[in-house]
Symmetry: C2
Subunit: 433 residues, 2 copies
Amino acid sequence: MLATLREVFALHGFGEIETRAVEPVERLAGDSDASKEIYAIGRLNAEEGGDRRAKEAKLGLHFDLTVPFARYVEENQGHLQFPFRRCQIQKVWRGERPQEGRFREFYQADIDVVGRDTLPEHLEAEVAIVMARALRALPLPPARMHLNNRGLVEGFYRGVGILDIAGALRSVDKLDKIGPDGVREELHGKGVSAAAVDAILELAAIQTPDGSFVDLVEALWDHSPIVDDADEARAQFDRGARSLAVLVDAVNAAVPETAIADLRIARGLDYYTGAVYETVLEGHEDLGSICSGGRYDSLVAGGGFPGVGMSIGVSRLVSRMLGAGIATASRSVPQAVLVAVTDEEHRGASSAIADRLRARGIATEVSPNAAKFGKQIQYADRRGIPFVWFPGAGDGTSPDGEVKDIRSGEQIPANADTWAPPTEDLKPRIVRG
Amino acid sequence: MLATLREVFALHGFGEIETRAVEPVERLAGDSDASKEIYAIGRLNAEEGGDRRAKEAKLGLHFDLTVPFARYVEENQGHLQFPFRRCQIQKVWRGERPQEGRFREFYQADIDVVGRDTLPEHLEAEVAIVMARALRALPLPPARMHLNNRGLVEGFYRGVGILDIAGALRSVDKLDKIGPDGVREELHGKGVSAAAVDAILELAAIQTPDGSFVDLVEALWDHSPIVDDADEARAQFDRGARSLAVLVDAVNAAVPETAIADLRIARGLDYYTGAVYETVLEGHEDLGSICSGGRYDSLVAGGGFPGVGMSIGVSRLVSRMLGAGIATASRSVPQAVLVAVTDEEHRGASSAIADRLRARGIATEVSPNAAKFGKQIQYADRRGIPFVWFPGAGDGTSPDGEVKDIRSGEQIPANADTWAPPTEDLKPRIVRG
């Protein structure tokens, strides 16, 4: 799976970087929600004085790939060419309560494009297209990308007079969890008027597979309780609506039936300023979003470096693929062939055959023992190795022998310089369950 | 580099496993030397009671891949087929003083074959051959594998009356660092007689590129101060010598001019019982061993699971390759082609060309802007992208255009369904410096 993701990312010009597992805790702890989950590290037996120990205690394992990427860009800005495209596929660590789909150590696969001062809007579509193609390259049920635009939402919220926009977004983000009544209650508690709450819940209910949401949100604005002096809010709202319509159409043009404009998508983080993305796997909606992200104005604390990125939660996806029988591996070992050994004196002949096969890219093991052939076939069978090769008589200089497909039982004469297993047996692959 | 190692390992039937980054500290701390270097982890803000916190504090980051592999085999022994072959390529962490070639976070690449109760001796050669081939597949100076046999050495040490064999081995392991006089002094301090010290230093000086060392060590035995009642020691010595001769010849037969019998190789760890390996890169002897390992009787504390394994210190090797100009990357980005954009209205035409190229495995980026072509060529040049594609006029349905090799300046008409870059430009590759 990781190889497939890497390949799709590389085809689109996203080169891979890797960062160290630790970051300074003060960088990691910026987001107060996440800081509870940080694992700090320290030398087990720090003997070199308190100062040093204290200094080292300020490192923690990264809990996502965004914090390390931000540091990377900041530190290397003089050497990077912008817009800078990168993918990053690494483990992250969170001290969460482990449960299905929630791990304390898991893989994330991120792509981002970051500009120095500006970043063209069409990259919001490109990032979504690359991720949609990556998901299609995996043996998964259809993935639906739910898209929204932060400007559209913020403009609307400001239009109906909401002051604490981040707080309102965080409430709306809980729609799935606590339902409209729960959100209504929270927003009332935050001092939002009943009419405004109705309006933003109406906005959140709009979902279209194309640009037709534009007419719906404009009509909603027209009959909502808009405050005086809302021209700027309206302009932000209009820009966001146009941008979202372009985005949905561009993604669907490149990867048909993928994108949906979904005005409910909030993404709790303050961080996002343009497109926001969530992705749901058909039939596995309970998993939540398997691939999320958005557009941001500033990757680093000091400002500058606007970007857009998305992240796949790889481990939770693999866990579901295996657990729900969506896909599995065709075998657990790389080798396609076991070369039998007639007796220990002729092990060299078997090794020579194996090397001929390996020279042509066929992964091969030489039987570790010279037991009866029946036992050696059983050895292959237990490991899922599909073919057993029997060397011909002689001193090992001949490529001739016989090869048995132990699944069908068929055994044929074969030459180790020309025979190859069927393509689908050459390497282990992911197969639909 | 990691991909090359994985490929060679897989061709020889070593499937990859991956283990979590942490292990219980009591497992990690078994080796007292290493325990100083362990990084323990703990939740930054543990709020769920002291008990839980105390429990979590007992986890540490692994400092090698052997401890996690031993746990893996122990926990999964009911599901594994033995002999079990695995490769493992992961980061490890050590709280060392950072310096050239010594990192606090670095990659190791290990292969091991582990049996349940027994393990055939020929696997000692196989593991060395696989590693020698992996090193040859990388753009490195010639790597020399220095091989020894623990049984030979122990038999000899017992023969000359040494009681603390592990202690003597640890002293001899320092030959490079402290020289023969330093070793002599240490051994005298440990109560070894002058005659015995002379004998084991003579043994350590023997080095042959083939089995001819056997005559030399036998002659040395014959004129050394052997204790009474040394029959068992002699038998162990002889078995080890025969085994080492077979090993050196087998490795050199498979990978010519690689293996040397080097009786100086001690490997400090008590752990090893048969073959021991170190590997030195010609012209880079100061790096120390880049690939080491050996045969052991028991992977896990309880006994059982004899195995043989070797480990490459990948990061120190990469660091030297880059630092000494041995090798570098042909470019830092995956894409071979930048498709120019005539103007923003025709971005779709450029994207269509890019998708035609990608469909044939050619990594391609579409220019993020529609600046003057000179600027777009400069954009490619700065990133090391070798080709720029100029789409033909029209609506984007035609695959025709022109492609420029920006290194030579040559520009030719090309069809996006048939043109491909030269093989050496298709992907970034490692090139000799």
